[in-house]
Symmetry: C2
Subunit: 205 residues, 2 copies
Amino acid sequence: MGVRVSSANSLAVEDLGSAAQRDRRKRILDATITLASQGGFDAVQMRAVAEQADVALGTLYRYFPSKIHLLVSALQREFERTEAIMRERPSEGDTAAERVINSLKRTTRGMQSDPQLTEALTRAFMFADGSVAAEIHQVGMLLTSMLTKAMHPEGHDKLTEEDVAIARVIGDVWLSALVGWVTGRTTAAETGQQIEVAVKLLLRD
Amino acid sequence: MGVRVSSANSLAVEDLGSAAQRDRRKRILDATITLASQGGFDAVQMRAVAEQADVALGTLYRYFPSKIHLLVSALQREFERTEAIMRERPSEGDTAAERVINSLKRTTRGMQSDPQLTEALTRAFMFADGSVAAEIHQVGMLLTSMLTKAMHPEGHDKLTEEDVAIARVIGDVWLSALVGWVTGRTTAAETGQQIEVAVKLLLRD
DNA sequence: TGGCGAACTGGAACGTGTTCCTATTTTAGA
DNA sequence: TCTAAAATAGGAACACGTTCCAGTTCGCCA
């Protein structure tokens, strides 16, 4: 456990030898988050990220080969943080449906408290092509794992194929709903409803 | 007098008075589809579209205020064509699940026969922001309607709230699967499975 | 038919993602 | 410690979406 495939594209933390490099990487991602929080996807401009991270433009591209890689990597780091919080303090509820809905609502609420950041990260995620597959896959796994844990908090031994399939479907609906929200096509309330409906359809105990 | 727009920011067919204008619009969309089929999203370059449609760049932007509007409008036209075919020759099957799966597989197969075009249109759809809401909504309605018709071919009188909710969820899964496929993260076979699993979970008669 | 406003043309110009190049600094190995 | 290789800085250059402008053509109507 804990082994992560280092991407062929972005430089993952494990690939970075020196502390200075790890620090550069952190500064870059911090700058990305800051700019995204302030102005969303469009405000994350490569020159601005480089300047704020105190790094040359070429170096930025050395660490992250494109804006999309950069944002998806930032998303990955944020999501890992979220997942850690979830692990520490799992959502409570009597039924699987309740726990799943609670998990997603908590996560969604967190994202809605910083709409610009969410917009930037979600856009990047949806726009990512095959060259970002490794990073995307990581995030997808985290999401599915978060959902299956909410479904079966006792342990993962009991997980059936169907459980995983259901988690995937819920994840898909959540993503679609999120895209609708960040692109201004639906409201936060509608997003919540959309997820709730899907979960209730899929998890009728 | 200023330019009238119907429900969207793009110039819809109804807004175009003269036959020459309708023809220009058609030429633009044709050029878009041609270029998209050949090289996908990246190949749909505004200068290239303008040149191939034999129209000035400024005119192109007059008809479609952005590349995203252009592509989503092209998607809309294609989808209307698909929907017409479906109406003429509905999918057969004994159960709602079978018919829905057949519909989606037929549609998906059509898209997979032109991967570049599908990539271009899907990317645009997922990247579209609030300013394209009208066009997006149109497409969403077509999709939901296609699905509910497959669920209840007899007529729409019997449609319950739940039916529509289910159709929406299936649509979400289909979109997510499509994004995975066009971005090269999943194979065509996996896409089909993903949909099949979701439909079977949601439509267990 | 003449004139007027809208639409169109052709192309310059700007912003931002991305690439590339040279000089300088840092790192690793002998 | 010295040196070669790798990493970084700094910045020019290019591509494509988008905007803008001056001149021309088109369509309508008095």
